[in-house]
């Protein structure tokens, strides 16, 4: 018998496929994973702590830096939590705009997830096509609020400004093109034989386990659990739209990936409906009357929304002053990473990349 040894491979924090500064210590037997230890915190900026010394409004830009790929959704979660505290009625028009921009943000985030996943599996062209659509979305965000990544557009009481004139033709053109673009991803990535061989049956996550570890988002739905906060506990005006919650069956990498593709189509549906309803609304304010300096009453509030990566929750505690006493964020990427060790065991190095990519983490959110 040959004497064999376990081989330790340090993957990251500088590695092309860890989606940022994520680090995994892999214990290998040949190329097979015996154990995977995630090491976090390379991008920790102490956002939760920083929030304590800022006023409630000043916290909004920090939320942009959590999941910077879907910043609108982060804005929305925090702002709705604060609104819940001070009890403000948001104008109808602002609600619709919020839905439109947050669904756009969701598509933008899923575009990255899809493209980066193709890249992780070695298909460079699959990376470029979703980015083309993301680019269009970024251009539209730039029209709306002047920024392409960190928006701070959704404010307590409404949104920063009404949608500009040039936005409407742009979004209409986008809505018209987008379904065929998703068909393109399906043709280039989803339908590819090698892609399916690389993802089907890999990194299976059973539904009970996913629920037990409170995973959420496409990772949970990929395992077949039909749970989407937009449907289960609608916040804002989500109950006014007609859409479906796509679920997977086997809970493997392919299902998680494909859930995102289907979600993009559903988001497209929501935007379309929201835009139609918005255009029927009369002109009006997009901001409620809120005081310049917010002083919520003593107490705490927890609000969660369906983010692009999963359930994004904000727990805000007020001590009656202008600064929040404590802000805690339930970061879906971080919680979805819980099972990475278990999911990776027994698979190959190449599968680790596939599994990690299918969880779709963003390090700004994991490390907070």
């Amino acid at each position: 018998m040959l004497r064999t040894e376990e081989f330790t491979l340090n993957m990251g924090p500088q590695h092309p496929a860890t989606h940022g500064v994520f680090r995994l210590i892999l214990h290998l037997d040949g190329e097979t994973i015996v154990k995977a230890e995630p090491v976090l915190g390379y991008l920790h900026r102490g956002i939760e702590k920083l929030a304590e010394s800022r006023t409630y409004t000043q916290v909004i830009p920090y939320t942009d830096r959590l999941d910077y790929l879907a910043a609108m959704l982060n804005n929305l979660g925090y702002v709705q939590a604060v609104e819940k505290m001070i009890g403000v009625e948001v104008p109808e028009r602002a609600e619709y705009i919020r839905v439109i921009v947050s669904e756009m943000s969701r598509i933008a985030s899923h575009c990255i997830a899809t493209g980066a996943y193709a890249l992780d599996l070695g298909g460079f062209t699959g990376f470029m096509y979703p980015f083309r659509e993301r680019e269009k979305l970024m251009d539209m965000f730039e029209m709306i609020c002047g920024s392409r990544m960190t928006f701070s557009y959704i404010r307590v009481g409404g949104v920063a400004a009404d949608l500009p004139e040039e936005f409407y033709p742009a979004i209409k053109k986008f809505l018209q093109e987008f379904p065929s673009c998703v068909d393109e991803y399906d043709g280039l990535i989803t339908g590819n034989e090698i892609f399916q061989a690389r993802t089907k049956g890999i990194g299976i996550l059973p539904a009970e386990k996913a629920v037990k570890y409170s995973l959420s988002g496409p990772v949970l739905r990929g395992s077949g659990v039909k749970y989407d906060l937009r449907k289960a506990r609608p916040y804002g005006i989500y109950d006014r739209f007609d859409f479906e919650v796509p679920v997977g069956k086997n809970g493997d990498c392919f299902d998680r990936y494909y859930c995102r593709i289907l979600e993009m189509r559903q988001s497209h549906r929501i935007i379309k409906q929201a835009l139609e309803q918005l255009q029927e609304l009369p002109e009006g304010p997009v901001m409620a009357k809120v005081p310049k300096v917010l002083k919520p009453p003593k107490g705490d509030v927890y609000h969660e929304i369906e983010g692009a990566k999963g359930i994004l929750g904000y727990y805000v505690v007020s001590d009656g002053t202008v600064n929040p006493y404590r802000v805690h964020v339930r970061r879906p990427s971080f919680i979805n990473l819980d099972l990475i060790d278990e999911m990776c065991r027994g698979w190959k190095i190449a599968d680790v990349v596939a599994i990690l990519g299918s969880i779709d983490i963003v390090l700004g959110e994991v490390d907070c």
């Binding site: 491979l9 070695g122 470029m128 690389r198």
Partner: protein
């Protein structure tokens, strides 16, 4: 035009013999000339192919590709190589210095050696070797050793994994490749490449040996370490495999050798299956060597198309595909070919 290069070689020889050199010496000088020509051809081809690849990738990905350096970006690769030459060569601490420096120096040797026997056109092989195909198979697989050397010498875990993958991949794909070529050799009864081409006067072997061509092409992609079989590099898994620690020209040598290998595999495919320099449809007014190059470039385009469309296959799937699909298929091909030859022989066709 048809005999442009053959005549040039002839006139060089005449000049030398007229100036009083012995035939043996002039032979030797001529071989040197041929070698130089091959070297220039291979290097220029590599430079041009990098540009072509980037342009094709650009069009596949709805972007322009290089378009700033020189007219239509044609000098992009030259500029890149110029930059890489000027870079410091970093030797990692703990690396095996001799092997580390030796492998990029040697990586160009196997393809260059094989180009010696490649018939670029009629009578245009540098050396007419009567075991040409065998020589190709024997020498081309030497590059495995060099990749492994690079992977081992770097003293880096990613490099080591990459090196191991190269060896595993080459062993599993060399076999179906040899077996696929065997079908052609059985028909022609010769290992001389020029004679194999001449045997395709009536029908190209791609029509009589379609399965062999397919197997050869797939194994060829794997031989060149190109997507979807670019496991050795696998940049999203093992960073850059054996090349992880290489900088500057060392890295560029591996990079260019990949293209040299690709040209080589395409030349072999054109020779064995696509009738080499033979003109299809009687279009003989175009010289044979242009036909050869055309066929090679069509194949190279296929290589590039594949690379920019497919994701990477996993290492165990690759081995499974090699041993469970390609090897049995090529064996079946040999069996069918053998039976067909025997039957046709018996009915005296």
């Amino acid at each position: 035009m048809e005999n442009l290069f053959v005549n040039t070689a002839g006139s060089i020889r005449n000049i030398m013999e007229n100036s009083g050199l012995s035939p043996l010496l002039s032979d030797a000088v001529l071989v040197m000339f041929k070698l130089l020509a091959i070297l220039v051809f291979v290097l220029i081809n590599a430079l041009w192919l990098v540009y072509m690849e980037r342009k094709i990738a650009g069009y596949i990905q709805c972007r322009y590709g290089p378009n700033r350096v020189g007219p239509k970006g044609l000098l992009q690769t030259t500029a890149d190589i110029g930059k890489l030459i000027s870079k410091e060569i970093i030797i990692p601490r703990g690396a095996d210095k001799i092997l580390f420096l030796l492998s990029p120096a040697l990586i160009f040797a196997p393809p260059l050696m094989v180009f010696m026997v490649v018939p670029f056109g009629e009578n245009m092989a540098a050396v007419e070797l009567n075991i040409g195909v065998f020589y190709f198979l024997a020498v081309a697989s030497l590059s495995t050793v060099i990749f492994w050397m690079a992977g081992w010498a770097s003293n880096n875990k990613y490099s080591l994994l990459g090196g191991m993958r190269v060896v595993a991949q080459m062993i599993s794909y060399e076999l179906p490749m040899v077996l696929a070529i065997l079908g052609v050799v059985m028909i022609t009864g010769t290992l001389n490449m020029s004679e194999i081409i001449r045997a395709q006067e009536n029908t190209w072997f791609i029509f009589t040996q379609p399965v062999a061509f397919l197997i050869y092409f797939i194994a060829g992609v794997a031989e060149c370490n190109r997507a979807p079989f670019d496991l050795a590099e696998g940049e999203s898994e093992i960073v850059a495999g054996p090349f992880t620690e290489y900088s500057g020209m060392g890295f560029a040598m591996f990079f260019l050798a990949e293209y040299a290998n690709m040209v080589l595999v395409s030349f072999m495919a054109a020779t064995l299956f696509l009738g080499g320099w033979l003109a299809p449809f009687g279009l003989t007014f175009i010289p044979g060597w242009i036909w050869m190059l055309l066929k090679v470039y069509v194949l190279i385009f296929l290589f590039m198309w594949l690379r920019w469309t497919y994701p990477r296959i996993r290492v165990d799937q690759l081995m499974g595909f090699g041993w469970k699909v390609l090897v049995p298929l090529s064996l079946a091909n040999i069996f069918v070919t053998g039976v067909a030859i025997k039957v046709l022989d018996m009915i005296g066709w």
